[in-house]
């Protein structure tokens, strides 16, 4: 499974757990429109760190937090590449 698909699957899993109804996860969807709160993102980042072995937001001190789903996925893809 690609990094993108794993991220999407993790988002869907957390949404189901937190009873959040997700809009379609398109690249230009802003993260706050996902319905996730900061706790949801904290859980997502921790699970992806276990799954993919990286946490792009801790590796680089000056990394700004992404604004859209596309930015979020690219943050992982860039580290992985």
């Amino acid at each position: 499974m690609s990094v993108r698909l794993r991220i999407i699957a993790a988002i869907q899993q957390i949404a189901a757990e937190q009873q959040v109804t997700l809009p379609p996860l398109e690249d230009n969807l802003s993260l706050h429109e996902t319905g996730f709160d900061s706790l949801g993102f904290a859980i997502l980042v921790a699970r992806l760190e276990d799954d993919l072995g990286i946490d792009p937001f801790t590796i680089s001190e000056d990394a700004s937090f992404p604004l859209t789903i596309g930015d979020f996925i690219r943050a992982y893809e860039n580290v992985h590449a």
Binding site: E17, Q18, S38, L39, A42, I43, A46, F57, T58
Partner: protein, 461 residues
């Protein structure tokens, strides 16, 4: 000058009470005969009036030395086995130690301490010693980091709860504890055995739990105490069958409903209760109704010389059984201006009971929202499939920290069901806890570390 009779342990070694013993895995000694014996090769008089550091490798010799030294030395500092060597110099200075009783005298040769007296398990006949004074008992706090604090007690304070409870009914009790007797929880049991005319079976570091329980059965142990972590370990081992104590006590950590119910199931004939005690505050109270937490009406009025109040969520205790001071050059005040010890144990009122929720210093901060790991563990431990759990902090670039949980499954639990059990744990946590307290991840583990003091190791706390 007080005209009260000076109170020392040797006074409880009644030569008319037969069949009392003190034992560990290798040795046994008669508590009737030792009144005419010495483990100090007859050198007790040399430590009269001195501040003595008691440093023996094992509990057996420590017990013999305590019985002999109490009432003769000015002070007796009990060193637990895991005391870091680099703390000793500071403790010696703070406690004004001028004598060491040890089974390893060569280690103290260059210590600068005036007097080193060798203690030996091989007892020799000696004249029955006279009690000269009330020895001050010094104990060390069991915190995980930094220099332990020295806590000063009197024997009268240490035994206050024992005297208040009165003698055990029925045949003389045989006491045991999973604790080391050089810690507050273990010392209470040792003192109960000595004062109550009973026998004592000591724990042995490194001994397999099945061997330990076999020894407890062989010695017909009737009364036994330990931390909830000790008890969970016993329940997990499967070694409890065939062991039937009359009296089971938990202390030192939060006793949640799951461990109380587990013990009720394992020991249907026993009185099962949990007690609140700390090295500083002494024995606060006991709860014997089989339920976690304690009745709210215990707060406020004074019972048996113990008064409790709650300030800023933490339990404060004013008690004649509390320590009288921290000892040392830089020692902080032990109590507030009203004489209450702040235990640092946080409680929460639910219905008509207070429940312990964790240590003040152990709070996990999740983006400004707080949780005690113990609250989460209590929910997880309620599942029949779970034997033990530890919630801990994991750093997060988003919220600073999130909570994750390590879980040990109960024996016989099919590991193929782990996904189902994980989902049930999460569903239970969501039903009972605020969202930030629900573990972000659950990991199944085979073991969780327990500290030398018998408490679940909390490296992030």
């Amino acid at each position: 000058m007080s005209t009260r009779e000076v109170f020392a342990l040797r006074g409880y070694l009644d030569p008319h009470l037969k069949d009392r013993t003190l034992s560990d895995a290798r040795r046994v000694v008669s508590l009737t005969d030792i009144t005419g014996e010495t483990c100090l090769n007859g050198r007790l008089a040399e430590i009269s009036g001195r501040s003595v550091l008691l440093s023996a490798a094992g509990q057996f010799l420590s017990a013999l030395a305590m019985l002999e030294i109490d009432g003769v030395a000015r002070r007796m500092l009990l060193c637990p086995p895991d005391l870091a060597a680099d703390h000793i110099h500071a403790l010696v200075a703070d406690a004004e130690i001028d004598a060491v009783v040890t089974d390893q005298p060569s280690q103290w040769a260059g210590s600068g301490i005036e007097l080193v007296v060798q203690a030996e398990e091989q007892l020799r006949p000696a004249r029955r010693a006279q009690t000269e004074r009330a020895t001050e008992w010094l104990m060390l706090t069991s915190g995980t980091s930094g220099l332990p604090k020295i806590v000063g007690h009197t024997l009268e304070g240490l035994t206050g709860a024992i005297v208040a409870d009165g003698p055990a009914r029925g045949a003389p009790p045989v006491w045991a504890t999973f604790y080391d007797i050089r810690r507050y929880g273990g010392l209470q049991i040792f003192l109960r055995a000595i004062i109550g005319g009973g026998s004592m079976v000591l724990s042995e570091p490194g001994e397999a739990i099945a061997d330990h329980v076999a020894r407890l059965r062989k010695k017909s142990v009737t009364h036994i105490s330990g931390t909830p972590s000790h008890w969970r370990k016993l329940l997990m081992s499967g070694a409890a069958s065939g062991f039937s104590p009359r009296y089971v006590r938990l202390s030192g950590e939060i006793a949640d409903q799951a461990v109380l119910d587990g013990l009720r199931h394992a020991f249907p004939g026993a009185s099962i209760g949990h007690a609140y005690a700390s090295t500083e505050a002494g024995v606060g109270f006991a709860v014997n109704d089989g339920l976690e937490g304690f009745p709210a009406d215990m707060i406020g009025e004074s019972r048996d010389g113990v008064e409790m109040k709650i300030v800023d969520g933490s339990l404060r205790i004013h008690s004649r059984r509390a320590a009288h001071a921290y000892v040392g050059r830089q020692a902080a005040a032990l109590t507030d201006s009203d004489g209450f010890v702040d235990t640092g144990d946080m409680v929460e009122l639910r219905g008509d009971r207070y429940h312990f929720v964790g240590r003040r210093g152990g709070i996990i901060n999740i983006g400004g929202l707080k949780v005690h790991p113990e609250e989460i563990e209590a929910v997880i431990n309620r599942l029949a499939e779970v034997r033990m759990s530890r919630a801990r902090s994991r750093r997060s670039p988003i919220t600073g920290a999130i909570v994750v949980a390590d879980v040990i499954l109960a024996d016989g639990c099919d590991t193929g069901r782990s996904e189902e059990i994980k989902n049930r744990i999460l569903a239970d946590c969501r039903a009972s806890l605020a969202p930030h307290k629900v573990p972000a991840m659950i990991k199944f583990v085979d073991a969780l570390d327990v500290t030398a003091a018998g408490k679940l190791a909390r490296t992030d706390a």
